[in-house]
Symmetry: C2
Subunit: 817 residues, 2 copies
C-alpha cells in the first residue's frame, strides 16, 4: 500500500462517505478487518512477540516462512461483511473458501469469534494464545496452511482448486434456511470443475433448498499470472454470469472505505434478493428457476501489504500470492515487516491481555450462528441414521446356484427405491449420477422420486421435477462435489457411475479420503456418512463402447489411500450386492467402492448364504468345490461378477474332463480381506489366509481388475509364490462379452489351461484337453467374426444345467433406457 493508503486503511476516524454503513460501523468493521489482517500476517511470519510490544527482532520471526498472504485480506474483508449480515438478520450461514490456501484468514476468523479457543483451549484469546496461534501455523506439530479439517467452520480444504461451487451446492441442497457463501478464486475459476460448478443453479430448488451465494474473488492474479476473468471487459464478465443464470453485483476498488460501503450495500441487496426468492417460492405456486444473486469482488491481491518490496511490485500483483517478503536475515526486511504489521495498529485492536477489544468482539455473531461454529460445517453433528428397509426382502430367489437370472444393479435399484421412499420426509438422501441412473439400472427409484431439474421442463419429460432427489448432470465432477458437500453437511447419498469414467474424479476422491483420514484424528469432528460409489457398466460389459470405456483401475487408485477410510466390494451376484449396499449405507467415514454388473446374469447365493459370505468377505463356495474332506489340488479364486462366472464355467469344464482334480472355489467379495491384517483392518490373519488359500497349492485367481493389484495385496502371504492371477490387461474393443474375457485370458478355457499347466501330475492326459481348449478358442473367434454374437454354448451355459438356454443373452440394445 502507498503511504496515503496506509492512512486510509487504518485511520480510526475514517469517514462514512456514502453507503449503508454509519461512520461508527464503518470504523469498527474496518478495525475488525485490520485485526484479521494482522493475525493473518502474524501467522505467516511470527514466532513470538505477537503484539509487537517489543521491537521486532530476527528471533521473533519464523526461520521458514510458509503460507499464502495474497488471498487473505480479501477473504478477511468478506468475513467481516458476512458477519455483519449474519448478526443483523440472524442468518444461518456457512462459508466455502475456494482459495483454501487462505488458511491464515479463516483461522484468524475462528480465533476472533472465540471458536478456536473453544476447540483448542491452548490457543487462548490473549497474548500467550496469540503467540501460539502464530507459531502453530504451518509449523511442525501445528496446523496445515490451508482451510483444513483442523479449521472450525470448514467443510472444504481448498488445496486442490476447483470444487468450491460443487461443494457449496451440495451443502445447500435440502437445507432450506442455509446460505452457503462461496468464495471462488479468479484463478480457481479457470478450472474445469469450477467452470461447470456455476450451473449448480439449474438444480437448486428455492422452495426446498437453501442458497449458494457465489463471490468471485477477482483479485486479478493466481500464483504467477493474471487471471483471464480479470482481463476481459466488464460487460463481457457481466454477460458471462447472466448467461450462467446469475444476477451479478460488482464491488470494485482499492480504497477500503469505498469498498466497505459498496460491499455492505451489495450484501444488503443480495440478501433482499435471496429473501424475495425464498419467500416467493415458498408461498406456493409454481417453483421457477430464479436468477440468484452473486458478487464480483474486485480488490487488490495482497491488499494492504507493502506496495513494493526491494523495488518490486507486490501489493495488487502476483508477487503477494505466497510469502510477499523472504530473507528475514535482512534487517531492512524486519523493519518493513514491523511497519507493515504496525500499520494495522494492533494496540487499538487488542487489549492489554491481548484479547480483541469488546466493541470489536461484539461484531461477531453468537454461538452456532458463528460461521466457525455452525453445525452444518461439522455435519456429523446433524447426521441422522437412514431408515433402512430390510434388504432381505429384496432377495432374488435362488433355488440352486445358477438357476435364476437377474440384473444385480436393478435389484439394488429396487432396494434404493425403498430407501428413498422411507426417507423422503427426512430430506436427507439423494442419488447422484452423470446421466447414467437408468443406464446403470436404478430406474425403479424414479417410481418414488423424480430427477431434480430447475431448468425448463417439457410435458414429454420423464420424471423431471424441481423436487426430484435423483441428481443427474453430465459431470462426474459435479456429482462428486455435490455428494461430498451433501455428506459433509450431515446427509446420505450414493453415486452411480460408469466404472471407467470414475477416474475423472480420481483427484477429488483423493482429497475427500485425505479429509476423512484427518478428521478421524480430530475429536470434535463428528463422523459423517460414507461416500458410496456404485460402479456399473464395468470393464467387461461396455458392449456399446469399447476400449475407451474399459478401465478397472479406480480400485488401484483407491487402495493407495489410508486403509482406515477405504473399503472395496465386488459382489458376485444380486443378493451379495444387496447385503453390501445396506452395509455401505450404515457405515460412517469411509469411502466404499462397490462394483457390479447391470446385465442379466446367473445368481449364485441365497440371501442367507449371501449374508454369510459378505460378512466373511471371502469364503469357500462348497457347492462349487469338490475338495471337502481332502486337500485341494488347486484353488480357483474369483473376485467380481464376470470372473466368478468364468471360474464356475471353468470348474464345470474340469468336472467333465478332469473329474479327479480336487478343486476349491473361493470367492472374494471384500477385496481388502486379501491384505495382511497389519495393512488393513479387514485383512485376514495369515492363519486364516493360509487355511483358505493353502500354503502350497496353485491358486488360479480370476480378478475383475488389473491382475497385479492382487499381487500387490497378497505379496506377503505364504502361498504368494503359487498365485497366478488373470484380469484385465488393457485388451479390448467393441466386441462380444465373451470375447472380452478371451482377449484378456480370463475366460473359462484359459482358466482351465492355467490349472492344467500348474498340475504336472496330470501329465500326458492333459494334452488332449489343452488341444481341445485351443480349438474351442479358435471356434469362438471364427463364430463371432461370422455371427457377431457368442456361441450359444457359451452364452447359454449355466451352472448345473438347470438354466434354460437363451435366458441370459448378450443383446444390449436397450441399454440406455
Amino acid at each position: 500500500m502507498s503511504a496515503e493508503s496506509v492512512d486510509v486503511v487504518c485511520n480510526t476516524s475514517i469517514a462514512a462517505t456514502s453507503g449503508p454503513l454509519s461512520a461508527d460501523e464503518l470504523q469498527k468493521m474496518n478495525a475488525y478487518w485490520r485485526a484479521l489482517n494482522y493475525l493473518s500476517v502474524g501467522q505467516i511470519y511470527l514466532l513470538d512477540n505477537p503484539l509487537l510490544r517489543e521491537p521486532l527482532k530476527r528471533e521473533h520471526i519464523k526461520p521458514r516462512l510458509l503460507g499464502h498472504w495474497g488471498t487473505s485480506p480479501g477473504l478477511n474483508m468478506l468475513c467481516v461483511h458476512l458477519n455483519r449480515v449474519i448478526k443483523r438478520d440472524d442468518l444461518n450461514m456457512i462459508y466455502v473458501i475456494g482459495p483454501g490456501h487462505g488458511g491464515p484468514s479463516l483461522v484468524a476468523h475462528a480465533y476472533l469469534e472465540g471458536t478456536y479457543s473453544e476447540v483448542h483451549p491452548n490457543i487462548s484469546q490473549d497474548a500467550e494464545g496469540m503467540q501460539k496461534l502464530f507459531k502453530q501455523f504451518s509449523f511442525p506439530g501445528g496446523i496445515p496452511s490451508h482451510v483444513a479439517p483442523e479449521t472450525p467452520g470448514s467443510i472444504h480444504e481448498g488445496g486442490e482448486l476447483g470444487y468450491a461451487l460443487s461443494h457449496a451446492y451440495g451443502a445447500a441442497f435440502d437445507n432450506p434456511n442455509l446460505i452457503v457463501a462461496c468464495v471462488v478464486g479468479d484463478g480457481e475459476a479457470e478450472t474445469g470443475p469450477l467452470a461447470t460448478g456455476w450451473h449448480g443453479n439449474k438444480f437448486l430448488n428455492p422452495a426446498r433448498d437453501g442458497c449458494v451465494l457465489p463471490i468471485l474473488h477477482l483479485n486479478g492474479y493466481k500464483i504467477a499470472n493474471p487471471c483471464f476473468l480479470a482481463r476481459i471487459p466488464k460487460d463481457e464478465l457481466q454477460k458471462l454470469f447472466e448467461g450462467m443464470g446469475y444476477k451479478p453485483y460488482f464491488v470494485e476498488g482499492d480504497e477500503p472505505q469505498s469498498v466497505h460501503q459498496q460491499l455492505a450495500d451489495v450484501m444488503d441487496r443480495v440478501l433482499t434478493d435471496i429473501n424475495d426468492i425464498w419467500t416467493e417460492s415458498r408461498q406456493g405456486g409454481v417453483v421457477e428457476r430464479p436468477s440468484w444473486p452473486m458478487i464480483v469482488f474486485r480488490t487488490p491481491k495482497g491488499w494492504t501489504c507493502p506496495a513494493e518490496i526491494d523495488g518490486k511490485k507486490c501489493e495488487d500483483y502476483w508477487r503477494s500470492h505466497q510469502v510477499p517478503m523472504g530473507d528475514m536475515d535482512n534487517q531492512d526486511h524486519i523493519r518493513i515487516l514491523e511497519q507493515w504489521m504496525k500499520d494495522y495498529r494492533p494496540e487499538e485492536l487488542f487489549d492489554t491481555n491481548g484479547g480483541l477489544i469488546p466493541e470489536l468482539a461484539e461484531l461477531a455473531p453468537q454461538g452456532q450462528r458463528r460461521m466457525s461454529d455452525n453445525p452444518h460445517a461439522n455435519g456429523g453433528q446433524l447426521l441422522r441414521d437412514l431408515k433402512l428397509p430390510d434388504f432381505r426382502e429384496y432377495a432374488v430367489e435362488v433355488t440352486s446356484p445358477g438357476s435364476t437370472i437377474a440384473e444385480s444393479a436393478r435389484v439394488m435399484g429396487a432396494y434404493l427405491r425403498d430407501v428413498m421412499k422411507r426417507n423422503l420426509e427426512s430430506n436427507n438422501f439423494r442419488l447422484f449420477s452423470p446421466d447414467e441412473n437408468n443406464s446403470n439400472r436404478w430406474q425403479d427409484v424414479l417410481e418414488v422420486t423424480d430427477r431434480c431439474y430447475m431448468a425448463d421442463i417439457y410435458p414429454e419429460d420423464d420424471h423431471l421435477s424441481p423436487d426430484g432427489r435423483v441428481m443427474e448432470v453430465l459431470s462426474e465432477h459435479q456429482c462428486q462435489g455435490w455428494l461430498e458437500g451433501y455428506l459433509l453437511t450431515g446427509r446420505h447419498g450414493f453415486f452411480s457411475c460408469y466404472e471407467a469414467f470414475i477416474h475423472i474424479i480420481d483427484s477429488m476422491f483423493n482429497q475427500h479420503a485425505k479429509w476423512l483420514k484427518v478428521c478421524n484424528h480430530i475429536p470434535w469432528r463428528r463422523p459423517i456418512a460414507s461416500l458410496n460409489y456404485f460402479l456399473s457398466s464395468h470393464v467387461w460389459r461396455q458392449d456399446h463402447n469399447g476400449l475407451s470405456h474399459q478401465d478397472p483401475g479406480f480400485i488401484d487408485h483407491v487402495v493407495n489411500k489410508k486403509a482406515e477410510v477405504i473399503r472395496v466390494y465386488l459382489p458376485p451376484d444380486a443378493n451379495c450386492l444387496l447385503s453390501v449396499t445396506e452395509h455401505c449405507l450404515r457405515s460412517r467415514n469411509y469411502v466404499n467402492v462397490v462394483i457390479a454388473g447391470k446385465q442379466p446374469a446367473q445368481q449364485w447365493l441365497t440371501m442367507d448364504q449371501a449374508i454369510k459370505h459378505c460378512y466373511a468377505g471371502v469364503s469357500i463356495w462348497p457347492w462349487a468345490s469338490n475338495d471337502e474332506g481332502t486337500e485341494p489340488d488347486v484353488v480357483m479364486a474369483c473376485c467380481g461378477d464376470v470372473p466368478t462366472l468364468e471360474t464356475l464355467a471353468a470348474v464345470d469344464l474340469m468336472r467333465q474332463h478332469l473329474p479327479e482334480v480336487k478343486v476349491r472355489v473361493i470367492n472374494v467379495v471384500n477385496l481388502m480381506k486379501l491384505q495382511p491384517q497389519s495393512e488393513h483392518p479387514h485383512g485376514l490373519s495369515d492363519h486364516d489366509f493360509d487355511a483358505l488359500f493353502t500354503t502350497d497349492k496353485p491358486i488360479i485367481f480370476a480378478f475383475h481388475g488389473y491382475p497385479w493389484l492382487i499381487h500387490r495385496l497378497t505379496y506377503r502371504r505364504t502361498n504368494h509364490k503359487n498365485l497366478h492371477v488373470r484380469g484385465y490387461k488393457e485388451e479390448g474393443t467393441t466386441t462380444t462379452p465373451f470375447d472380452m474375457v478371451v482377449m484378456n485370458d480370463l475366460d473359462r478355457f484359459h482358466l482351465c489351461e492355467d490349472v492344467i499347466d500348474r498340475l504336472p501330475q496330470l501329465g500326458a492326459r492333459a494334452a488332449y484337453l489343452k488341444q481341445a481348449i485351443h480349438e474351442k478358442l479358435i471356434d469362438h473367434k471364427q463364430y463371432i467374426a461370422k455371427y457377431g454374437d457368442d456361441m450359444p454354448e457359451i452364452a447359454n451355459w449355466t451352472w448345473g444345467k438347470q438354466g434354460l438356454p437363451g435366458m441370459v443373452g448378450t443383446s444390449t440394445e436397450g441399454d440406455n433406457v
Copy 2:
C-alpha cells in the same frame, strides 16, 4: 419423423425457400445427407442386404445391435455443410467430434469421400464394400463404435466426453491456416473440462494460430435426460457465449429444408468473420482478441428416425440416443427399420454397383482437402524432429558426489529455454503448465519467449504476449487437452505440473495412452511426439501446502496402461534429469513421466556418469558402495531424488557406525527396469536383476512413491522375498522437509534401522546404534517443534563432508517467484 416430414426429408424436388442455396444445391446436399444417414443406420443395424434390394429379413440384421444413432443425423448434416465451404473456398479444415459415439457418422463420411476405401481396400465403394462397412461396425474383428483412431480424419475418439474444445484449440495453435470445426455435444457441454474449454479463445492468436469453430450440437438430450443448455431461454444462452467471448450464430429447426438454408447462410457468415479476423490481424498492427464466431445448432436428436416406436417418442427425444429400436425378432420392427431406411431412397443415392452417384460424390472436396484425409489429423505425417541443443552443455559440474548444490528443475529449464530458442522459427514447440511454470522452475524459458496471452495485458505484466509459447492457464484439463491436440497434429511439447494434481487428468491420460496403443497397430497412423510430463513440487517437498498436495500415485496409475506406450523416470539429480529430458524429447508415441524436485539439492553424478546411468536405467553407484570385490551384506536401493539423499545419508551413518557392513548402493532412474522383460520392453532380464540385487541378500529400497508399487513391479524376481520397501504411506502435513521423510519412515535413521534389523549377524552390538537412532529421532521431533526447521546436522549434511554447511537450507519462501 411424421409422414409429412418424411416427404420433406427425401423429396427430391425440394424447393429452395430463401437462403444461399440454389434449389439444385439444396437438393444435392440433402441427398448427400440422406446418404450419410442411410449409411449410419446401416452400420448400426445391417449385416447384409446393404442396399435393401431384397426385402429386409431377420438374417440381414445384426444379432446384437450396438452403437449410437441419436447424434449421427446432426453430425451428418454438419459434414455436408462443412464440405460445401471447404470445397468452395479450398479450406484447410479438420473436425473434432465431441460426441465421439457418433462413429457411424464419421465413418460414413470417410467412406463417401473415398478415404475409407483408400486405407481399407476391402471396404470398397460398391455394394460388397458397403456390406462389409455395415457388418464391421461394432462387430468382432471390426471397428469400434466411436470416432476411434481407426477412423481416418479423427484425432479425437470422444469416448470420454469433455475434451473436444481443448483438443481443438491444441490443434489450431501454430497452424495459421487451419480451421478446426469442433462439435460439442450439449450433454458434453455440461462437463467441467468442456465448460472451461471455451476459454481457449483467450489464448488463440489470430495472427499466428488457426481458428476453432465451435458448433454446439444442441439436440436437446444426452443418454436419458434433457441438457440444461437446451432448457434455458435463448437470450441466456446468447449471453453465455458472448460472455465467453464468442459471437454466436443460431441455426434452429426440424425442417431440413429450412435448416439447410440457415446453416449454409451461417457458414457463409462464419467464414467471412474468420477471414476478416485473420486478415486484419495479419495485416500488421496490434493483435487483439477477436470475438470468434461459433454456431448453436439446434436440431432434433435422432432426426429422421421414426417419430415413435411401439408408441414411444423416439425422434427428438433421448430414446434415440443409442439404438432406437431393439428386438428385431419382432417382424413389425423389421418393417419399421426397412421403411425408415427406404425413406432415404438409397436407390437414388447409389448406382447399380452400390457406389455413390457421381453428382453427389463431387460434392466432397478432393485429396487432402477431404477432412477424412487432412494430414493434420494424422499428425505424424507432418511431424519434424526438434532441433536439440547438446544437453551435455548444460551439465552441472560435479567434482565429487555431493559437492555441488543445484536445483534440478531449474537446470532443465535452462535446457528447455534453448530447445525453445532453436525451434522458434519452426513454430512447433510449446510448454504447458497450470500456472506453475515458474513455481516448477522453468522461468529461464521466459528469456526467449513469453507466456501466451490474448486477454488484456497490463504494462506491469511479466512476460505475457500474444506470441508467447508458454501456455499457462489454471486448468490441468486445458493444459493436457491443448498439449494432446498439439501433439496429435504433429508438434512437440512438455507439461509441467505439481505431482499431486496431475491426478486431475488421470482419465485424460488414460484416453491418450489408449489412443497411442491402438495407433501402434494401425499402419497408416504415423508416430507422433511423446506426451511428456514433468512432475515437480513433488510429494516430499510441498512445503507450503501439506497433505492435500502430497500424492505420488500418478505413477501407479500410469503403469496400468500398456507397457509399450509407458515410460517413467525418476532422475536423482540435475545431470540425469538433463539426459532423461533429451531422451523424452526425441521419443515417439510414448507417455513419458519424469519426476524430479525443484529445491536446491546435492548433485551426485558427472554428466558422463549420468549419461551412463540413464542409459542403463539402474546401476550400482560404486562410490557409495563398499562391497566391490566381495559380496554385499545388504543392498540399499533408491529411486527418486529425496530417497536417494536419504539412502546416501544412511550409508554415511553405516560407514561411521558399522564400517564392516558391506553395502551396495543401487540407484534406479528408469522405473520400468524393475519389471520383468516379459512385462515391459525396458525390463531387466532376471539374470541382470539377480546380479544387481543378489538372490539372497536383504534389499532396503527407498522409493519416491507408494512402496507397494515396487512390490508390484518386482514380485516375480528371485530375491523379492528379501525386498523391504519404504516410501510414501499417506502421512504428511505442513512440516519440515526432513520431517516428511520421518513421518513416512523413509529417513536415513529408519533406513539404517531397517538394515540392522535385517542383519542378524550384527547381534548385540547393533543395539547401541538402534538406541542412538531412536534418540536422534526424538531429538529431531523436539527440535522442529521448537524451531520449526530441521536440525543443522540434518539440513546441512553432505556426502563426503565436502559441502559447506548451510548450502542447501530448507527455506522456501521464494517458491512462487
